[in-house]
């Protein structure tokens, strides 16, 4: 059956789309967007179908060119990777719908390469998720990173500098990962994740794999923007075009978080990383500091995009905290937060795009009630996402935090409970000041053409924004189904 091939179809359709859409775009500019949209839709369709298939029949192994692993490269789609690849392609597809009008306004004339680069970016991320081979992961990581630099660099005047600094730090991260992989290969002689998982417990001498794990975690941590290594993130997100940030923020760092979960719990065992050697404790404490640091820095920002960027640092901290707790509840919290944060950040960055489309501003002091009168639906979407970021039920953000709190209590670590509570308060401060400006204060900076005239953004931009906002509530209300039917299947063996 042709459908057996879906793990490879997802990245290949995106890669082919990138290859076709760029030359066709040079010939006829208008054709690029439909091709890109179609490629993205194919990937989205196969990701959704793949998730259903995996949930029904169990983990799917796909051998590239029928070479049996560990000799050949293997793609593995288990419930976790099917879930994450669906997030990547779902966000990718809907932001792609959104991007048409926004790009025409923000970076006119550069749409053709932009769409091609976006497809490469999505292909890299999808590949990182579905692959079961550690070196193949490195290659996809570099595809995703190189296109991410390009996405950042087309932004405003300062964007290339931000992109270059992101490139330097990103390359250090990738190089550390590659070096760590070299040590792992020297010790186990295999690049396949599952094969390594079998070999590692048998090793007598552990020095080499500890070095390898440390290097790989530092590398992935850099890509993930884990707390002390987050310095590239604020500049990159705030100078990128608004669509660029809407692609980067929700999915790029989440996929790195997924890779960290894979390396810690699939390649190395839970027992190895949390009991014999306390890697997970270090990750948890760094993330806890990152949660507070990101929130405090976000309060200090007056630029909407920069605020969201620092808030991303803090939210990555939640995912890191869930990973670092290394118990089932923490794992559920982390994976659920990957989904929730992707949706919330997508909504918030699309709102930023909408505001920029109509008013050309990103500065928070300029926001006022006229903005709300002109963009009522956008403001509503913002409010839902902001409430979710704060963690007010029944929005999605509450539930992942709830699982993280339960996990911390389970570990008897009350400091983390305090950190999560405190960070919710800080989130309240920096989001409520915007809600206040939009709905409560009667002060106007922005002039309207006519009094209270509604002038929403085009429908192709409004629908994805509202869709994500509705999903934030929807996944909040129905989070029990996601946890029961998907995430619980993905809990690694040996995690107690």
């Amino acid at each position: 059956m042709i459908f057996q091939h879906f793990p490879i179809v997802i990245p290949i359709s995106l890669l082919l789309g990138a290859m076709i859409s760029a030359p066709v775009g040079i010939w006829k500019r208008k054709l690029t967007y439909p091709i890109a949209l179609f490629a993205s839709f194919v990937a989205f369709f196969f990701s959704s179908a793949g998730l259903i298939y995996v949930l029904n029949t169990g983990t799917h192994h796909y051998y590239l060119g029928n070479w049996i692993p560990p000799i050949g490269i293997e793609y593995v789609v288990d419930p976790l990777s099917a879930f994450v690849v669906l997030i990547v392609n779902g966000i990718g597809f809907f932001v792609m719908i959104y991007s048409h009008r926004s790009l025409a306004k923000e970076i006119p004339g550069k749409e053709v390469p932009f769409h091609a680069v976006v497809l490469l970016f999505l292909a890299g991320l999808s590949g990182m998720v579905v692959t079961g081979d550690l070196f193949n992961l490195y290659v996809f990581l570099e595809i995703a990173s190189l296109s991410a630099y390009a996405l950042v660099s087309v932004g405003e005047k300062r964007a290339p500098v931000a992109a270059f600094r992101y490139l330097l730090l990103g390359t250090i991260g990738a190089s550390f990962y590659l070096l760590g992989l070299g040590f792992l290969y020297l010790d186990t002689g295999s690049l396949n994740m599952l094969d390594n998982a079998k070999i590692i417990p048998l090793l007598e001498e552990r020095g080499l794999i500890i070095i390898s794990l440390t290097l790989m975690l530092v590398g992935i941590g850099l890509k993930m923007a884990m707390f002390p290594m987050h310095l590239w993130l604020p500049d990159a997100y705030s100078y990128a075009p608004s669509v660029g940030s809407a692609y980067l923020a929700p999915i790029a760092t989440k996929v790195s978080a997924y890779v960290m979960i894979r390396i810690l719990f699939t390649v190395f065992h839970t027992e190895f990383v949390s009991e014999y050697y306390n890697f997970t404790d270090v990750i948890a404490w760094l993330s806890a500091v990152g949660i507070l640091w990101g929130s405090i820095m976000a309060i200090a920002q007056s630029d909407y995009k920069r605020m969201l960027a620092y808030s991303s640092v803090s939210q990555i901290g939640y995912i890191g905290l869930g990973i670092g707790l290394a118990n089932p509840l923490g794992f559920i919290g982390a994976v659920l937060h990957i989904l929730n944060h992707a949706l919330m950040k997508a909504t918030l960055f699309l709102v930023n795009g909408n505001i920029f489309y109509r008013f050309g501003i990103t500065s928070i002091p300029m926001f006022d009630e006229n903005l709300r009168k002109k963009l009522p639906y956008t403001s509503a979407a913002f409010t839902i996402a902001a409430l979710s970021m704060i963690g007010i039920p029944p929005t999605a953000g509450f539930f992942s935090k709830w699982y993280l709190v339960l996990a911390s209590v389970d570990k008897n670590n009350w400091i983390f409970v305090v950190v999560i509570g405190l960070s919710s308060l800080l989130n309240l401060i920096y989001f409520f000041r915007i809600i206040e400006k939009l709905y409560i204060t009667r002060k106007s900076n922005l002039t309207l053409d006519e009094e209270t005239k509604m002038n929403e953004v085009p429908i192709s931009m409004l629908v994805p924004t509202l869709l994500f906002a509705i999903l934030v509530i929807g996944f909040g209300v129905f989070n029990a189904y996601i946890v029961d039917y998907i995430i619980k299947l993905a809990i690694p063996d040996g995690m107690i």
Partner: protein, 122 residues
């Protein structure tokens, strides 16, 4: 002790190279020098793989009937070398993107010095 150093001389060389690269990337103020540091870092990792695959008294990984029975210790390991072909391609691509970015930066700010650029970015 001396045996230990002599036997691992290549690795010490690679570590030195790696540290030079990192130092250049982190502490040099000129963006082009940072890029050169990045290339040194990547080359050091490529060399690390290449060195790790080499064996004393072994030959190229092409099956040679003269050597008699197939014995893995008589052939060097080809896999790290092939991996590094990919890594070289990645490194070239990264350098290309970085150079393109540097051209844009130079056009916009007329300098590649980090301090001056940060001054102009305010």
């Amino acid at each position: 002790m001396t045996d230990y150093f002599i036997g691992h001389a290549a690795y010490y060389f690679i570590i030195t190279l790696l540290l030079i690269g990192l130092w250049g990337m982190l502490f040099k103020k000129n963006y082009l020098k940072k890029l050169i540091g990045m290339n040194i870092l990547q080359s050091s990792i490529i060399l690390f793989y290449v060195v790790s695959a080499s064996k004393y008294n072994a030959t190229v990984p092409v099956l040679d009937p003269k050597l008699g029975e197939i014995n893995p210790s008589q052939y060097i390991n080809p896999l790290p070398h092939t991996l590094m072909l990919t890594a070289i391609v990645v490194s070239v691509a990264t350098t290309g993107v970085a150079l393109a970015l540097l051209i844009v930066i130079y056009k916009r700010f007329n300098t590649l010095d980090e301090n001056e650029i940060l001054e102009k970015m305010k």
